[in-house]
Symmetry: C2
Subunit: 336 residues, 2 copies
């Protein structure tokens, strides 16, 4: 397997990316080649500093970086020699099988959509973000690739998310939900009611409208929404978890007896932190592009980078794209 890592991406840049690469290489022997894409001098220095010496590593120079202040389109217009664009180009030229980036999400979406193109029949790519759930993993799609979605895009997200859950996560009949306000069919907006009708008519395992609590409690494998709502949900959930941990810490440190109790119980806190951490899941696939792109969290730790690289390796191994293409074609045929 050959994977290209945007080694400049994420809030912590090369240090976390190189450390993550090292962890992934140590863990996965299917990786034949790991391209580290970015400023050559900087990456060489970091690779040396971290003592990463593995003949599977190859540094590929890119002179630019898309920063958080750039528009997403910079990846394909102003900054054509940016790390994400060069990484996507490696896939386009067949030198790599996947790209992994914890950088500017919009730029990763733009670069891979332009370089890989969309799979035949797919109208928009969507980010499938894995949420830890009482019954396994709930994939929220779209988590932010396409904030101005049309109903047909959400139907396609449901198809792509179901294929992903089936082929990569091994769920035989993925249960699909539509994020809305209120569980009755009639609840929601004109937009969600249109999506509801499309999903009901499809041959997907559609379970109707869902609400926030279903993300964590219900046996649901794919939840569709537009990219604005999906991104807001993800960030709100993350923010709530972070605020709670902070408040809990403050309260537990407020009195000696609590402090002592918290020390005894610390394994429990660590287990929950682990469970909810983006580190544990690592990367979200961008579904719908004709290639493999795994998007990491901006604040990715080395462990999160490692897991994003491993997610890319899983995606390569399971080859979901031909299945997505099939299912989209089947649907189009049935509705032609």
């Amino acid at each position: 397997m050959k994977i290209a890592l945007d080694a400049m991406g994420g809030d912590f840049g090369p240090p976390h990316n190189i450390a993550g690469a090292k962890l992934a290489l140590a863990d996965n022997h299917h990786i034949e080649k790991l391209f580290l894409v970015g400023d050559e001098a900087l990456l060489k220095a970091e690779v040396d500093a971290q003592g990463l010496s593995d003949r599977r590593v190859e540094i590929v120079h890119a002179s630019q970086v898309v920063t958080m202040h750039d528009p997403a389109t910079a990846a394909v217009r102003g900054k054509k020699d940016s790390s994400i664009t060069v990484a996507a180009d490696l896939v386009k030229r067949g030198e790599s099988e996947a790209v992994v980036s914890a950088g500017h999400t919009g730029a990763a979406v733009a670069a891979t959509t332009v370089k890989f193109r969309l799979l035949p029949g797919v109208e928009r790519a969507g980010i499938a973000s894995p949420i830890p759930n009482d019954h396994g993993i709930c994939n929220l799609i779209d988590a932010g690739a396409n904030p101005e979605a049309k109903p047909i895009h959400l139907l396609q997200y449901a198809i792509m998310g179901s294929v992903y859950a089936r082929h990569v996560q091994g769920v035989p009949k993925p249960r699909v939900g539509l994020m809305s306000v209120g569980e009755e069919d009639s609840k929601g907006t004109e937009f969600t009611r249109e999506v509801f009708a499309l999903l009901r008519e499809s041959n997907l395992n559609f379970k109707g409208n869902i609400e926030g609590h279903d993300l964590f409690e219900s046996e649901i494998h794919v939840v569709v929404c537009d990219g604005f709502v999906g991104n807001v949900i993800l960030k709100s959930c993350e923010a709530t978890a972070k605020a709670m941990m902070k408040w809990l810490k403050r309260e537990l440190m407020a009195k000696p007896v609590r402090k002592f109790g918290a020390m005894l119980a610390k394994g429990g806190f660590a287990a929950v932190k682990d469970r909810i951490s983006a580190d544990t899941y690592g990367g979200s696939p961008l579904l719908g592009v004709n290639g493999i792109c795994i998007i990491g969290h901006g604040s990715s730790s080395p462990l999160a980078i490692k897991n994003a690289i491993l997610a890319a390796s899983e995606a390569i191994r399971h080859g979901v794209n031909p299945h997505i293409q099939d299912e989209i074609a089947k649907f189009d045929l049935a509705h032609a």
Copy 2:
């Protein structure tokens, strides 16, 4: 003060409502009259069972209840003798100054919008939901009254939310944020960019786009979004907090030493639970209607009902509606 409680509302119906009424009456001597609206026989029995004997209480019969399966419009069409409609009517006739309901949110919005009408110049009412924040209270408006909002509605929410924060919560210059994806001005959708332009041109203390983490961490007093997004945010935050507490409990109970530690630290858990609980805030005002309506959480405990009644009493005391009307008129005048 005279307050009408939809005593049938909420997932737990009369028992929680009557218990909450009892707590509020014990706590607040400004209440001269508390109408308990609903099935007379049922309410009488519950009042007796709970030993509520207070000459300020008056049961007002309503033969119907809007259930969660009814459309919001049932309150003003099919079920005109429902508890929420009869409670709103008491305000309309001047017998009560406010209505409080933990029932069907859409029905409370519909009943009060039709019975009270909107304040002059206001195009849509919005629910201002209080979120506990590191710097005080962040009011999220609209939390679900109007899922299909137009940009002008969000501008009006910002105006109304600012008046509420200033007059009821005592914040001299409320800081206003727009919920979006990404903090740069250009981020978001066509819709949020239109709202952004309106807010920037206004004389509000507008701080730009905000994201999930700002709800808890930033000094921001009013956050505007459409009712679909607001409702999804609230429910996602609640669900995350609930899931975390559940997972934490499970992990802490998994080993004897953790269990013992958690017992010692339990005051800390209780403090955080208190902080994030809807019980502590109790009620969200519906801003923009020509009257006072406080909306409670469907799963309101007696404490939450009590706090919703006290929120109504605060709203009566501060009389924000004339101020909202003034600010809306000022804005209309400036842009005529």
